[in-house]
Symmetry: C4
Subunit: 203 residues, 4 copies
């Protein structure tokens, strides 16, 4: 029942090399069947994930439908946010990145968003043109998970961010998604590039 | 008929690792026979290219002479610019890089060019001496492909840029070429080093 | 008797790639049995360590209980500091990093400490919350090893640093530890991220 | 007769990954017998060197004692400087690095030298203490090879640089050596770290 986890393991090795999921941080998920979300475990070294470490979670009510082989594992803390993004944006896969570049991008937020323009790389985001001014919401970091779900939910419901495939969380990182694993990977590479560009062009 | 694609696949894996072709961006081509240009497909993860994903395009009129195995693939959007550079500069291979360092170099353009001097690494460009002042054209980014071809064509026809093996595209990246794949690779490494040097010496 | 060294060799290859143990610098150890500390040798290229290069040292009195196969090797110069941290903090594994980011973090010390706050990544440190102000001691670099042991001992005994799993050594690097190898690895990745963040947010 | 070249090939792959020998630049050599110097070829992609690409050169008079298999190859342009360093400093191996960090370090020269202090990493240089002020000569870049040999010769004969295992060449890079391949590798990692530290601490 863990079909599809191999690719997530491979991507997490690559993302760890890039510094996006350091220190057991970050997370990843993908929809493997209607209402069935394959979710990585919490608090493990993400470059060492194996398919049998994953959980299957009901997108709708969050029930655990299949557990990891190791009884010591629990699903990612990101799971409620993952489920929200899957439901509200029809995402097929979501990455939670702890990249420092995402934190630094969030530091530049004005009125709860960063706006990116003047970069061809914007075309790498589904539906976005290189000439667009692309607004990405930046929500406050919260101590309690439920609060973060509320904040992300508000951002996703805000018309200003209708074209965004990412939400930045201040002092924390970013959620980045796509309609499937490949689009989520493309968006992850594009948004991290855009975060780097924000920093470089500011200095 | 895809002979010669193996090396391009290997180089794209390396260029992806370096951040030059992130987010399915960038492209690569090589001449495999007179008038026959081997071209990577558009919009795929460039580190995962396989030889059967390539197209053969007529350098002269742009006709597709051989298609990729996967009917869902289309040739790189860079193809018209690739063909132009091959024709006007007798290039044997061209890389289209989306490196952030190329974008940042383009940001420093004065009168449509960046001029690089005082670096031994300039010797790595065919025909250029370390003591030269080396001018690289910087063209505007355009929404429509046809306009970019026009702009690159003007730059390549400008005597001031006769020694350049690269064209920077503002907010976008660079085209870098050589008489064969190995010279194009050498030039790619040299120009990205020069772009990094521009940034470091400016700050 | 060198059981458990394989993983340390693997981690040192990774840490060398990251620039944390360059130029034969840095060191690593782990507790393999009560009072028995597995310690890497001094002054060797750390990415080329093999299990037979390790020593077993008595945590209590520092006696060498088992030697490396190569009679030319000697235990890491860090051994007295390693033993101290194991005893005072019940560490199961300690990394000595020479990362430049640790040196630069130490440069910003005020009153013998750097204080880190406003970063979710702090949660990656055992017992620390993202909302904490986390103080890491910064001790002076010393010529003689015995003096460094004294300084680190004072820092570890200081209540202000009770939550720290790292000690910065000015102009030198850092000691980072955890209750076992996996926690030490997590803490190593977290603290290096925090050191990078200090630099980036300052500039 | 190319014994000992395997390790140089491996190191050049690693140095290429680090950006020290980009664009076919840089070079490496080692003494394989009295008066016999194994030298890499000029102008090839350094990460793709094979043992049969190397030359054996007489340290004394520079004669070619054994040639590479490929008749199109010629010995590194660095060979006269390599021979000089081997003779004057009894080096067993020399690296010529084109790292941008070496160029940027050279930019900060005062009176023909950079002086590095206040870094434990200095201990990684044979005979140097962490508390030393370590002076590294910076010579002017020259168009003609013979002039560079003269300049490096003057620097190596200057008492102020008696403890240096590196010479910086302005706008160009560095020569770094050791009594054997392993010490040269250690010194290469140490000096590049020191060059990075100069840049970071200046900004």
């Amino acid at each position: 029942m863990m079909a599809g986890a191999d690719l997530l393991c491979e991507l997490m090795r690559e993302y760890h090399r890039r510094g996006w999921v350091s220190g057991t941080g970050g997370g990843i998920c993908r929809v493997v069947a209607p209402e069935r979300l394959l979710v990585a475990p919490s608090g493990v070294h993400k470059e060492r994930l194996a398919p049998e470490d994953f959980f299957v979670i009901s997108t709708g009510d969050g029930r655990v439908l299949a557990v990891a082989d190791d009884p010591g594992l629990v699903p990612s803390e990101c799971t409620p946010v993952f489920r929200l993004i899957v439901r509200l944006r029809h995402a097929g896969s979501v990455l939670h990145s702890h990249a420092l570049s995402a934190v630094l991008a969030g530091d530049t937020a004005i009125d709860g968003a960063v706006t990116i323009s003047g970069l061809e790389m914007l075309k790498g985001i589904q539906g976005v043109a290189a000439s667009d001014r692309h607004a990405v919401p930046v929500v406050q970091n919260t101590v309690r998970e439920a609060e973060l779900v509320d904040e992300v939910g508000l951002a996703l419901g805000d018309d200003r961010y209708g074209s965004a495939y990412a939400v930045l969380v201040r002092d924390h990182g970013a959620y980045i998604w796509g309609r499937d694993v490949w689009e989520a990977k493309r968006h992850a590479e594009v948004y991290h590039y855009l975060f780097d560009a924000l920093r470089e062009r500011r200095s």
